[in-house]
């Protein structure tokens, strides 16, 4: 019996992209359904009544919510292809710890393009501190997962297509401060699962311009 996999998502969401990367890593076929968050579909409200957010994975009719929880679920169900979490419990704990840490980038990044002046400076500082810590964690490894692309790589790499937008509105350069991280993101982009799942940074930039207009930021 074939698995039925549906992904409720928003094209620009770096959190939704995490799920797309994971599904691609496992070579899974799925139906992508773009959501309009200003006009939430009955399916979204039924499948994620608690948060009413994307991404939501629907596997054989059953919903899973929260991007990192979805990625772990995918890794556990389809465990015999491209494992994302390591097998050693200590390494798994480190991967989970740092993956949770990357979630901070979401809110900090939002503040970067939503605010101005002192608020924006604070967000920028926080954002760069996070990236620097993550760069430290990468060290000289090719991937956060070591020799292989893994869970933490999935968690963080999707933010890289947002870097250009963050840099434009925050007036800074990620590459200047974290060159190893940028090199790592380019290395990840050489993987089909990543390049086919991440969005064009220019399109993301356009998306942020549109969001700022909508939210009255100028």
């Amino acid at each position: 019996m074939a698995d039925e996999i549906i992904l409720l998502d928003l094209w620009a969401s770096m959190l939704g992209m995490r799920v797309r990367v994971a599904l691609a890593e496992k070579g899974l076929k799925y139906e992508y359904r773009e959501q309009d968050l200003r006009n939430k579909s009955p399916l979204l409200l039924e499948m994620n009544p608690v948060h009413k957010k994307i991404p939501v994975l629907i596997h054989n009719g059953k919903p899973i919510c929260e991007s990192l929880i979805i990625v772990q679920y995918i890794d556990e169900v389809w465990y015999n292809k491209s494992p994302l979490l390591p097998s050693d419990p200590y390494q798994r704990a480190q991967a989970r710890f740092w993956a949770d840490y990357t979630d901070k980038l979401y809110e900090l990044g939002r503040q970067l393009w939503l605010t101005k002046g002192e608020e924006q400076e604070t967000a920028k500082k926080g954002f760069m501190e996070c990236l620097k810590l993550l760069e430290g964690e990468l060290g000289d490894k090719p991937y956060f997962g070591g020799q292989n692309f893994g869970f933490l790589d999935v968690a963080l790499v999707t933010f890289s297509c947002w870097f250009f937008a963050y840099e434009s509105f925050g007036n800074f350069s990620v590459e200047a401060e974290c060159p190893k991280l940028v090199a790592w993101s380019k290395r990840c982009m050489e993987k089909e699962s990543v390049s086919s799942s991440l969005e064009d940074p220019l399109k993301i930039h356009g998306f942020v311009i549109m969001m700022r207009k909508e939210l009255g930021v100028e």
Binding site: V50, I64, C65, E66, I69, Q72, Y73, Y90, R92, F97
Partner: protein, 225 residues
């Protein structure tokens, strides 16, 4: 076999309690290191440089931080008395509810406690909405883990104690037996369960601590207006 397990905690940390319960449920011998968060030890800063918080589990010299991450580590390392279910879907649900507890439930309950007037009223409404989801999740179960205490019970368990402390200090009912009967029962059953009931922090000390936090919050909000 030389297993060395240390838990860095404070006497009152709700998150550290999760780890105390997990270790005891699994019958794991460990050493407790109490921290004073106003004067953090060099070891704490070395073991958790990112967040500088407790709890930290140190197993054979290797530190793990963040209580939910620690719970999964414990469950994967010591297989007796499993905390998480085996089925991937049920595991995803368990992780979801634990995260919901930390992200939404705790925040709204804290606001009910620390805020006044209209803000408190709004926090109560938000709390009720959040708790209704948990009430729904309890249908047909004694514990969130089913017949036995599991990962979600340990993640949410501190509420069984903290909510009654907040209710006493603030004089407001948060978990009304009539409105949230399943959650109310769960709070009683969990609080009285073996191991759990022996490890609550001293109630009087908790009341003093949280009353002081509330007094300070009220003082600073009235002086800034």
């Amino acid at each position: 076999m030389g297993e060395e397990v240390k838990l860095f905690r404070t006497w009152s940390s709700s998150f550290a309690l999760r780890i105390v319960w997990a270790l005891k449920i699994k019958g794991i011998e460990y050493e407790t290191v109490f921290e004073d968060l106003s004067n953090k030890s060099p070891l704490l800063l070395q073991y958790n440089p990112v967040h500088k918080k407790v709890p930290i589990l140190v197993h054979n010299g290797r530190p793990i931080a963040e209580s939910l991450v620690i719970l999964e580590y414990i469950d994967e390392t010591w297989k007796q008395a499993p905390l998480l279910p085996k089925d991937p879907y049920e595991r995803a649900m368990a992780r979801f509810w634990a995260k919901f507890g930390d992200d939404k439930v705790l925040t709204s309950i804290w606001s009910v406690f620390i805020k006044q007037g209209k803000e408190q009223e709004e926090a109560l409404v938000a709390t009720m909405e959040n708790l209704k989801f948990l009430e729904e999740e309890m249908k047909g179960k004694k514990f969130f883990g089913g017949e036995r205490i599991g990962y979600v019970d340990l993640a949410l368990g501190y509420l069984a104690n903290l909510i009654s402390i907040f209710e006493e200090i603030v004089g407001l009912k948060i978990v009304d037996e009539e409105k949230l009967p399943l959650l109310y029962s769960w709070m009683q059953d969990f609080a009285e369960a073996p191991i759990i009931r022996d490890n609550w922090p001293p109630r009087e000390k908790m009341i003093v601590k949280f009353q002081a936090l509330l007094d300070a919050a009220i003082a600073s909000s009235s002086s800034s207006s």
